[in-house]
Every structure is written in structure tokens, then in C-alpha cells.
């Protein structure tokens, strides 16, 4: 088990290294490179940049400087937000995104798992048909479409919920709903097919033959097996939630990292783009590794390999 963890972490670090390298060198396709492409805000900043990264030196050296700085937690200054550092901006904005994103993940699990299980149990009946319909519908609708539909219905027509900011508790409802819509649908579908698969297994018949109550059969025997594929989905779900937040934060004007990222793309704040890309990539890669390890812990069949 320990060997597996080490191997996995090593691969993750390797992948991250590739991403960082790729990110940095791609930035140099931009005429002038990421730091000097636009007219530098002030002479002081230019001088600071030069000193830190050695901008008159070959790209490889600049890369080395960047990485060294990065490992120390410094991702460079923002080109558009005077006097602020990329790492500070990330540190300020990320918690907001994390809150909304975290809530979406929880909502998705809390709603998706039971819905999928119920659909499997009532297979072929109306409950199943309705749930399956909504989940098929849910995976087709992109988050930005969902967001806009929600805004049109609840903010404009019915004037029930606020469109922007995160000031009140009710202002969380729409962004979380928009962000969790797809995962709920996906998890419900996944859970349904997994549960159907499990319910058809011989060991469920054994459980029934033992005289166990329906409740025990479901929650002790079925659930524990059926939930395994959902655990595998946790990694991609987190990645989806992170990237989905770009759109949702833009629409609902939430001061999170996603909105910041989009703005920096539009504003061509290259150090910001670079830093955020690396941060998000590192986050997603780390989450994937964590989920993989959790999965191996949870499925005893794999434990001893």
C-alpha cells in the first residue's frame, strides 16, 4: 500500500512538473514574453521583474528563476493590479471559490447518491423514469446554460433571488445550484447503474436468503459495493467544479478565483494566468491522487496488491 502511495505521488509530481514547464514555455510564444508583453506599469515594477527573473537572460535561466521563486511561494507580481502579487490574489480569492465549490460537491453527493439509488430500486416505474429523465437532461445542460436559465427564472421573472455577490445566505442558492446540477445528474446516473449492477449480484441473493431485512440488505450489502464507482468520480467531479466555477462566478459576479482567472485572460495579465494555471493544476492533480488513494483503501479487493 505504501509503495502504491509513493508511486502515485511521484507520478503526480512528474505530471505537475510537465504542466509547469509547458505553461511557462508556452507563455513565451506571446510576443515579448509574459512579463514584458504589455508596457510595464511602472519603471519600478520593470526593475523588480528584471531583478527577480533576470529578464535579459536566456529563457532557461528565467524558467529556473521562476521555479525557484515558485517553490518559495512567490508567483510574481500581477501586471494589471498594481502593487499586488499573484500569490496574494490567489490566497484572497480562492477561499471564496472553495466555499461555493465545496458546497456544490456536498450537495451533489447528498442529492445524487439517494436519487440514483431510488431510481435503481424503483426500476422501470415512474419514479425511475422521472429521475432518469432529469439526470439525462442534467448532463446535457452545460453549467453556464443552467446558470442563465436560473437567473432568468428566479431573478428576472420571479425576482426571488439576488443575481450578484455573496452577501446573503440566499445568494448562495443559485450559484451552488448551477454548479452542482451536472454532478448531481452524473452521480445519480452512475449510482443508478452501479446499484442495478450490485442488486443483480449473487451476494445480494445470499443476503436475502439469510433473512435480512430489506433495509439491511440495501444499506449494509448493496450500498457499500455500489458506492465505489462514485468514489472514483470524486476526482473528475472536483476538477469539473473548479473549472465550472469560472463560468458561474462570472455570471453571478462572485469574487472568486475563477472570475479572477477569466478577467486575467481578458486583461492579458500573464503572470496571473500562469500562476493561477499552475495553482489550479496542482490542486486538481493533488485531489486526484488523494481520491485514488482513498479508493484503494475502501475496496478490500485491491488492498493487498
Amino acid at each position: 500500500m505504501g509503495k502504491y502511495i509513493i508511486k502515485r505521488v511521484l507520478y503526480a509530481v512528474l505530471t505537475l512538473a510537465v504542466v509547469i514547464t509547458l505553461t511557462f514555455f508556452l507563455m513565451y510564444l506571446i510576443p515579448g514574453g509574459p512579463f514584458l508583453s504589455e508596457k510595464a506599469p511602472s519603471a519600478a515594477t520593470t526593475a523588480a521583474l528584471k531583478a527577480k527573473y533576470g529578464l535579459d537572460q536566456p529563457v532557461i535561466v528565467q524558467f529556473k528563476n521562476y521555479v525557484v521563486n515558485m517553490l518559495g511561494g512567490d508567483l510574481g507580481p500581477s501586471l494589471k493590479q498594481r502593487g499586488r502579487y499573484v500569490s496574494d490574489i490567489i490566497a484572497a480569492k480562492f477561499p471564496v471559490s472553495a466555499k461555493v465549490g465545496g458546497m456544490s460537491v456536498v450537495v451533489a453527493l447528498v442529492l445524487g447518491i439517494p436519487l440514483g439509488s431510488i431510481a435503481a430500486l424503483k426500476r422501470g416505474k415512474w419514479t425511475d423514469k422521472i429521475i432518469t429523465f432529469f439526470s439525462t437532461f442534467g448532463i446535457a445542460v452545460p453549467s453556464f446554460v443552467m446558470s442563465t436559465i436560473l437567473v432568468i427564472i428566479f431573478s428576472i421573472s420571479l425576482k426571488l433571488l439576488p443575481t450578484y455577490g455573496l452577501n446573503t445566505a440566499s445568494s448562495y442558492i443559485m450559484p451552488v445550484a448551477a454548479l452542482s446540477f451536472y454532478p448531481i445528474a452524473y452521480i445519480a446516473r452512475l449510482m443508478r447503474s452501479s446499484m442495478l449492477d450490485v442488486l443483480g449480484q449473487d451476494y445480494m441473493r445470499t443476503a436475502r436468503a439469510k433473512g435480512l431485512s430489506t433495509f439491511k440488505q440495501l444499506f449494509k450489502h448493496a450500498m457499500r459495493n455500489a458506492i465505489l464507482p462514485v468514489v472514483t468520480y470524486l476526482g473528475p467531479m472536483i476538477a469539473y467544479t473548479l473549472t465550472g466555477s469560472f463560468v458561474v462566478e462570472k455570471i453571478f459576479t462572485i469574487p472568486g478565483l475563477g472570475k479572477e482567472f477569466i478577467s486575467s485572460i481578458v486583461n492579458r495579465d500573464y503572470p496571473m494566468i500562469m500562476g493561477t494555471t499552475i495553482f489550479l493544476a496542482a490542486l486538481i492533480i493533488a485531489m486526484n491522487v488523494a481520491v485514488d488513494i482513498i479508493y484503494k483503501l475502501v475496496d478490500p479487493r485491491i488492498k493487498l496488491q
Binding site: Y203, A209, G211, L212, R224
Partner: protein, 336 residues
């Protein structure tokens, strides 16, 4: 006066599928006494497993008992509610299934799975359950039971998993054990071990066994009585002697003939039973075996045969036998 342990009267069971009503059991009747070992023999689709499952109320979903009665231990159980049936399952009637590789839940230890059934039906503490589980594992021949209790099903071989299934089935000392082709998925050598185990346990605990199989060899080694099923009906019923030495039904004869014998000459062909099994969606009005029977008569295609009693213990459903009995009776009336 020994009360019959199990009595099935005219059971009819159908599966209501989108394609139509599949009449899986068509008027099945038999009974068992305490301590009997009954073998139910037939090909796939004959209804042998379905009969057994219906005893425990384990019929798979689109299936329902549509007629007849099932009596177990003096009570009528075919109309019991689920709650009542649960008390019987695993407790008074247990079942072991065909494929031991998939019959155990992969995410729980085997100790957990054995204790589960003990804690459910008996009023014992967790500690007592654990001790009993260790006893059971020793009983079924698993070494180092304390250590193995904590292991998972995938750490055991097929034969050992079947032994664990037997341990679970016997935990609450049931009156009836149903074994649905317990050795089909196992090697021949392991097969012999499992059968031996079952016989010795039967002697120790004094339970009755229903052995469902398509293998006449198994039947001849441990069963006392045999029911031969075809297309949802019992076509012949009798003791081992009756079935093997006084075979009455053409189907049974066909089954016995198809077994390759050691004494056969090298170039003799194997003798299969020609034709294919019956379509249970549209079962014929007459004897279901008719199209494949070499003694088929016109009446066989039109009407379902009645049971002919050949002795106290032996009966069979066949028009040929009816014809012979008719002729005998005519002779008797003529003479007498």
C-alpha cells in the same frame, strides 16, 4: 407419526415478463419427511431451482406463485408476508447457491458474514457469535479459523468459499438445507469433498437436504429419493432403486443413456436426447417431452399425461404407462 417436513401441492409459478407469461412451474407436487435427502434432477430451464427458491419465497421479481400450496413444518408458507418469511430464511430453511465465487459479499470479512446470520436469528452476543463462527469454520474444514475469520472472500479458493457458504447456511441449525447445484462450479475432486461434508453434517445435525443438480452421478451418491423434472413438471419420482433400475419415463431413460459409460466400446457414439427444450412462453397442451420422445403417441401431443403409480414410492407422468395400466386393467376385468 412423523409429520411431513415439506409438502408442495400443485404448485404453479409463472414469470410475468414483457414477452409474456413464462409458465415455469406447471403443477408441481411432492413431499419430504424429516431426514430425507431428495435430489431434484433436470436440465437447465426445467424448473428445479425455481421450485427450491419458491419454498423460501426467494422467487426473482417478475415471478409469482399463481397456484397451489407450500407447507413447511406444518405451516402453510406460500402466502406468508415477507416479514414472516424472513424469520424462516437462514433459520429453519437455508440455501447454498451454485457459484461460490460470487455468492459472498466482497467488501466484508467472512467472519462478519457468518456472524451476521447468527446475530440476526439467535439471541447471542457478538462474542458468542464469533465463537460459534469459529466452531462452524472448523466444522466445515477450514484451518486456522481465528485468523481466517478476518479475511475477505477473494482470499479463498472456490472450494473453500463453498465451505464458508455451508457454514453460513448451517449456522442456525436449519431443518432443511437446499443445495442448488453446489458443486457445478467446482473441480471434481473438490466436488467429492463438499458432498462428503454435506453428508457428514447431515448425520451430525439431522437435517434434511434437497439437492438440485443435473448430474446423476451426484444424485446416485448421496440422495435417497429423486424427482426428475422436465419443463416445469415432475415427470418421475422415486427412490434411487426405482429410478436407476426401474426407470419408467422416457426422459429419465434418455438421461441415463446419455451418460458415457466406462464399459462402452471405443467407437460407440454418445447418445444425446434429440431436440431442444420447450418454449415456456407457449407450453404445449400435451406432454412437454413429446416432440423429443421416441415413443410419442398422438395423445401425448394433445393431453397432459396423468400420474401412474408404479409402486408405493414410484410414480411417473406418461401416457405410455397409462396405456400399459389400461391394458392391465382390461386384462384384469376380463379375467376377473
Amino acid at each position: 407419526m412423523s409429520e411431513k417436513l415439506l409438502e408442495i401441492k400443485n404448485e404453479r409459478l409463472s414469470f410475468f415478463t414483457p414477452a409474456g407469461e413464462v409458465k415455469a412451474l406447471n403443477d408441481v407436487s411432492f413431499s419430504m419427511d424429516q431426514g430425507d435427502v431428495l435430489g431434484i434432477v433436470g436440465e437447465s430451464g426445467s424448473g428445479k431451482s425455481v421450485t427450491a427458491y419458491s419454498i423460501m419465497g426467494l422467487t426473482a421479481d417478475p415471478g409469482r406463485v399463481v397456484g397451489g400450496e407450500i407447507h413447511f413444518n406444518g405451516h402453510r408458507i406460500d402466502q406468508l408476508k415477507e416479514k414472516e418469511l424472513r424469520k424462516i430464511r437462514g433459520n429453519e430453511v437455508s440455501i447454498i447457491f451454485q457459484d461460490p465465487m460470487t455468492s459472498l459479499n466482497p467488501v466484508y470479512t467472512i467472519g462478519n458474514q457468518i456472524c451476521e446470520v447468527l446475530l440476526l436469528h439467535t439471541k447471542c452476543t457478538k462474542q458468542q457469535a464469533r465463537e460459534k463462527a469459529i466452531e462452524l469454520l472448523t466444522l466445515v474444514g477450514i484451518n486456522e479459523p481465528e485468523r481466517r475469520m478476518k479475511q475477505y472472500p477473494h482470499e479463498f479458493s472456490g472450494g473453500m468459499r463453498q465451505r464458508i457458504m455451508i457454514a453460513i447456511a448451517l449456522a442456525c441449525e436449519p431443518k432443511l438445507l437446499i443445495a442448488d447445484e453446489p458443486t457445478t462450479a467446482l473441480d471434481v475432486t473438490i466436488q467429492a469433498q463438499i458432498l462428503e461434508l454435506m453428508v457428514s453434517l447431515k448425520k451430525k445435525i439431522g437435517m434434511s437436504i434437497i439437492m438440485i443438480t443435473h448430474d446423476l452421478g451426484i444424485v446416485s451418491s448421496i440422495c435417497e429419493k429423486i424427482a426428475v423434472m422436465y419443463a416445469g413438471k415432475i415427470v418421475e419420482y422415486g427412490t434411487i432403486d426405482d429410478i436407476f433400475y426401474h426407470t419408467a419415463h422416457e426422459y429419465t431413460k434418455g438421461l441415463l443413456n446419455s451418460i458415457p459409460k466406462l464399459t462402452e466400446k471405443e467407437h460407440e457414439k454418445l447418445v444425446p436426447i434429440e431436440g431442444s427444450p420447450v418454449d415456456m412462453l407457449n407450453p404445449p397442451a400435451g406432454c412437454p417431452f413429446a416432440p423429443r420422445c421416441k415413443s410419442c403417441m398422438k395423445v401425448c401431443l394433445e393431453k397432459m399425461p396423468e400420474y401412474t403409480h408404479l409402486s408405493d414410492t414410484h410414480y411417473s407422468a406418461c401416457w405410455l404407462l397409462q396405456k400399459k395400466e389400461l391394458e392391465k386393467q382390461q386384462e384384469d376385468t376380463q379375467i376377473g
